[in-house]
Amino acid sequence: MSKEHKLSVATLFLIASTFVVRAGGVQPVYPLTNDRAPVILPYIPGIVLFRPNTKMIVVTSEDDGIRQDATVEGYNTADASKLFQLKVPHTVNAAVFSRTGDWLFVEGARDGEGFATRVRLSEDIHALGVVATVKLGKLPVQPSMSVDTKLRLYISDATSSRVTVVASSAFERAVGSIAFDASRFETQISVSRPVHALTIFPPLDLAFISSETLPRIAAVQLDRGNEVIDEFNRVLGKGITNGKTQFPLALSLSSGILTSDGGTTASLIVGDYSSSSLTIVDYDPNFGTMDIVATVPIGIRIDQKSMIQVDPLTKLVKQPLVIGGDDKQGTILVGSGYSTQLVQFSRGVSGTALERVREIEIPGPPTSISVSSDGESAVVAIAHSPELPILTVSEHATVLDDQATKIRQLQRELSELDLDVGSIDGVVGQATLTAVNIFNTFVGSKISVSDIDSAIKIVRAFNQKCPSSGSQCLLDSARSLRQAQATGTHQNTESTTSIFKVCSGEYERACQPHDAYLYCGADVGAWAKVRCNSYRVTRLSTSGGNKCGYSIDAVTCIDPK
């Protein structure tokens, strides 16, 4: 490694090392409801997307395979008013905002060729900025897109292990022309496998790439020769249900995970349809590792038979899971192409576990979900329906069953001790019981879910006294418990145990110092049996002499009679 390189790494590290990846502080939990009247669109929506840090959404019309263009509209979710409308000269298959929300990129097809359009959005949004459309070198299949700090657009292709990067200058040159050829402004990044989904975390120049062919997500360092820093593989153990079909991992990036000292890092919400599980994976910049925070079952109601949808042309399996999340993972929504139910999760209060907040009914299976940056609202595109439900925080939703709330509280407290309670859902399952048992064993308590109030009190008190990580505190507690028990036993032993030195031989006078004397060949064990409830005989020494020689045995007499 060159010195220069090392220094740049050092700088990155110094920036990075100021955070400790453990979500600090309390993340709010917003239970969402579908109480408001939906926006009725004049078309079927394809993609919905919140503009970062605003209440504004962008909706694109679905690619129906007939039309060659698409409508892109902006709405204010606060009052459902329309902010702008734009026609783009191609269909829309993918859409993404720049990190600041100033630029919107949409990508799609026309006449079998790939196009991308970039739109500048003003702050108040009443005026649309410059719109530029470029023709791509090729039409990507099932694309996903992301933008870096230099406004380069990354477009993946599910049939290719090359990611196309379109330079910002292509869009600048394209202003005012129709179908400007961007291929000269394109570069390619080689990755190991065809890409299912791609997302970039600009502050660290990191791309997270979900493979199309394997349940695997790679963290790729873009400013260091696209080196794979670490990989996340499917978490085992939740029962793989779909036979041989390998579903790629669905992926959503949250870029505002708070750390204990106010920094932020990237975290992924990973959905695995095969094992029906949801996993939170934090990127730790100190080590360049993708660390699993929690894995829980999604537990979504399936309304339709799970027919695996395969694209007839590309033979690609369609991802059934649709995921949306806010910057801090306070609100995570998971939907399935086979269900009219959304499940809301939250990284919530503890920051170390996934909390199952509630289930939300929607009029049809979702095709796209977006959650606002603050987690207080969400929008869902429904398959074959012009209805656009806007989910908001409702007072009604916060009323939860008292007992369930208390169980959640206990589960939260236990999860803060690094104990695996499954998802924090207010339901006492096997995982919760195991965690309670482990707590009892390590702390020497007798908490039980049947006496939930005192259980919460005891675990919370233990948590409050814990200065370091939860598991360390449990171990320390177990150690002091063991020591206390050992000391207790020792005192017992002193009071109830006596040790006798027994000499065996022909003459007592020839014996070394002893407490009792037996003649040649006598049974020391039998002697001890008469005097002790239990005993142990240890031979201390033997020496030759007279008829049978001499031996000294130590008789440890426990509980003398």
Binding site: S192, F232, G237, T289, D291, I292
Partner: protein, 393 residues
């Protein structure tokens, strides 16, 4: 003039002939296939032993490919070679080596091994210095599309193959095992993986049981702690040679850039820390060694310990939540060529974790270490695997 012209002509003819010869030899080298560049450096290795377990008293053999890495007979191969010996608790172990094509077998000595990353260093006696040893490169500089080659022995037959690096991470996210698009067969493990110019970038490990054209290689950097002395010796020799040619360097002597470069390489070596981990009585002992004593030393480290959990039923392994992330104080050895950090309570932490996930075992940990040096520099995090005593529930 009349006298000098024939002389000048003869001189011209001589120079011309030399130039042609040089061109011919240059083009011959340029046209040499990558396989030809390494074939004389390949070593056919055979291990013979007597079983003292399972099939007591039965004589057994195993074989693999290795390659020469120094003129004095050091050979790098895969630790695999000793796998069968371990399995049958072999006695009277004898390793023989055949260098290149058709030479007489000679007895080899096992020098050192790194079992977790499957590397083994052995040595044969060099009657005359070997000229045909392979140059070692850096796998880190490879990109995924670079063509790589491998050669070795399949049974006793030579084989050649070529492919590309598929992924710089192997199964279960292991960083010391890279996936390559090459077909690999039994006995080929230990073969060099090299570039078109014959520079070695890895050691072939084995085949993916699921896919016939996917194999694994261990990047050559993981052999650094085995062969550190060779890399260091090479640098020292270069430094001596350069010094002889252009004299010792001073900071303002512009004529010595090459020397400065070699010296800075030496500085790189002095910042080259090889970490090693072992489990002892429920704690992890991390040690590092460096080739050059003195500054810089590691002041503190940050460590992240991730268990690889195996499901008892399916035998599938995946990474789990980190067990512990913390800072560690380094105690530097007296000789200033290494140091030690202890990660306590790991055994207990694993036990605690396994209690909450019944039906799983942990047999391996991955420890990622970020070193902070006493000169303020911070090194890239490194990951090292460590096999631990299998812990069932």
């Amino acid at each position: 003039m009349n006298h000098t012209t024939p002389t000048a002509f003869a001189l011209f003819l001589f120079k011309f002939t030399l130039a042609v010869l040089a061109m011919v030899s240059w083009s011959a080298e340029a046209l040499a296939s990558p396989y030809d560049l390494v074939k004389d450096s390949l070593v056919y290795l055979k291990v013979e032993f007597t079983a003292t377990k399972l099939q007591v008293g039965v004589p057994m053999t195993d074989q693999s490919t290795g390659f020469l890495i120094s003129s004095d007979g050091f050979i790098l191969t895969s630790y695999h070679l000793l796998e069968k010996v371990r399995e049958y608790a072999g006695d009277n172990v004898k390793v023989t080596a055949v260098v290149g094509d058709g030479a007489q077998p000679v007895t080899a000595a096992i020098v050192n091994g790194l079992q977790p990353v499957d590397l083994l260093l052995i040595k044969i006696r060099a009657v005359h210095p070997f000229q045909n040893f392979l140059k070692l490169g850096r796998a880190a500089e490879l990109t995924l599309d670079d063509t790589i080659y491998t050669s070795g022995f399949h049974d006793t037959e030579p084989f050649n193959s070529q492919g590309t690096v598929n992924n710089k991470v192997g199964p279960a996210g292991l960083g010391y095992l890279w996936t390559v698009n090459m077909s690999v067969a039994a006995g080929q493990s230990g073969s060099p993986v090299y570039l078109a110019n014959g520079t070695v970038v890895g050691i072939l490990k084995g085949e993916n049981s699921g896919a016939s054209n996917v194999g694994y290689m261990v990047p050559i950097e993981f052999a650094d702690s085995l062969i550190a002395f060779l890399r260091f010796r090479e640098l020292e020799e270069r430094l001596a040679a350069e010094e002889k040619e252009i004299g010792p360097s001073t900071p303002d002597q512009p004529l010595a850039p090459r020397l400065t470069k070699v010296e800075s390489s030496l500085q790189d070596v002095s910042s080259n820390f090889e970490w090693h981990a072992e489990e002892k009585a429920g704690q992890i002992i991390l040690t590092y060694h460096k080739l050059v004593s003195g500054s810089p030393q590691v002041k503190t480290i940050k460590y992240n310990v991730v268990p690889l959990v195996t499901e008892n039923e399916t035998r599938l392994t995946s990474r789990d939540r980190p067990l512990v992330k913390d800072d560690g104080e380094v105690s530097v050895n007296k000789d200033n060529r290494g140091g030690k950090v202890i990660i306590p309570k790991i055994g207990e932490l694993i036990d605690l974790r396994l209690q909450s996930t019944p039906g799983t075992t942990v047999a391996r940990l991955e420890i990622t270490i970020a070193s902070i040096l006493d000169d303020g520099n911070v090194l890239d995090p490194v990951s090292i695997p460590i096999d631990i005593e299998v812990r069932p529930r």
